[in-house]
């Protein structure tokens, strides 16, 4: 079968829910961050697929996914800074051990 819009939407929906599954099951902050990256990537794929198949005369989806990539990079950097700080104070990056918001 010739791949079209629905195939890409299937891949991106599957990837989104793989990320959601990882976010539910993982308890280590770095692996939770990886799940978030998968979710953001599936959103990018969705934007690009809609742009390619439904509005090929515009570039809006491309710009949206570029901004999503920029924000994901900023988010990953801040999250890793927080994780390193948490590791220094708790010697662990498990979410179950990080219950206090401030100490």
């Amino acid at each position: 079968m010739e791949p079209g819009l629905y195939h890409l939407l299937f891949i991106s929906a599957a990837l989104f829910f793989i990320g959601v599954f990882g976010f539910f099951t993982r308890r280590n902050l770095i692996t939770m961050l990886m799940s978030i990256e998968l979710v953001l990537n599936s959103v990018n794929l969705n934007f690009i697929a809609f742009n390619k198949y439904l509005w090929p005369h515009r570039l809006d989806g491309l710009f949206f996914s570029m901004f999503v990539i920029a924000i994901a990079a900023a988010e990953a950097a801040v999250a890793i800074a927080i994780i390193l700080n948490l590791y220094r104070s708790h010697q662990s990056i498990d979410v179950e051990n990080a219950e206090a918001m401030k100490f």
Binding site: I18, R26, R58, F67, A77, A81, N85
Partner: protein, 172 residues
């Protein structure tokens, strides 16, 4: 079955299989490497769709930037060879159920919806067009979001430095 179709299915399988392995493996370093392959699969799909620029951005930012950042933070925070703790089976079953139900609902909605395609002439995006539209202040220009994202990146950079700075022990 043309070559392009086969490549599409291979890229899709690479993306999904390594995505599943990235969220289920118990070795955190392998999870990072599987995440890397999943991101490369997505970049391959962007190449397949002939959106070369965004594929290049994906490889540079995600594969070259974020994954390396994640691997370094793994080196800094994990003991070598240590497995992630096993999760409770009940939690795994219910998470899988929730994810699968969400997926089924989404796909059901998608296949019941018929998308309307535009009839306008398709545009092959080249880098010059993307750059002009990105910094144009007229209609369809993205100058304002571009500037906002620049400020956001600056704020994130300063925030990272402030958060990750080792605070000096206070003198009593």
């Amino acid at each position: 079955m043309t070559g392009s179709t086969i490549i599409f299915y291979m890229l899709g399988a690479l993306t999904l299989v390594s995505g599943v392995l990235a969220v289920t493996t118990r070795q955190i370093f392998r999870a990072a490497i599987f995440l890397l392959f999943s991101l490369i699969g997505i970049a391959g799909l962007f190449f397949w769709l002939q959106y070369d620029f965004i594929a290049a951005v994906q490889i540079v930012v995600y594969v070259g930037g974020i994954t390396v950042l994640i691997i370094f933070s793994i080196f800094l925070t994990q003991q070598a060879g240590e497995l992630l703790p096993k999760q409770k089976p009940v939690r795994q079953i219910f998470s899988a159920l929730a994810a699968f139900c969400g997926f089924a609902l989404t796909m059901l909605q998608l296949y019941q919806h018929s998308f309307k395609k535009t009839t306008d002439q398709a545009l092959i995006p080249n880098v010059a067009d993307i750059g002009n539209q990105m910094l144009s202040v007229g209609d369809n220009g993205f100058a304002l979001p571009f500037e906002v994202v620049s400020i956001l990146l600056l704020a994130a950079m300063i925030g990272c430095i402030v958060i990750a700075l080792r605070s000096k022990p206070t003198v009593a």
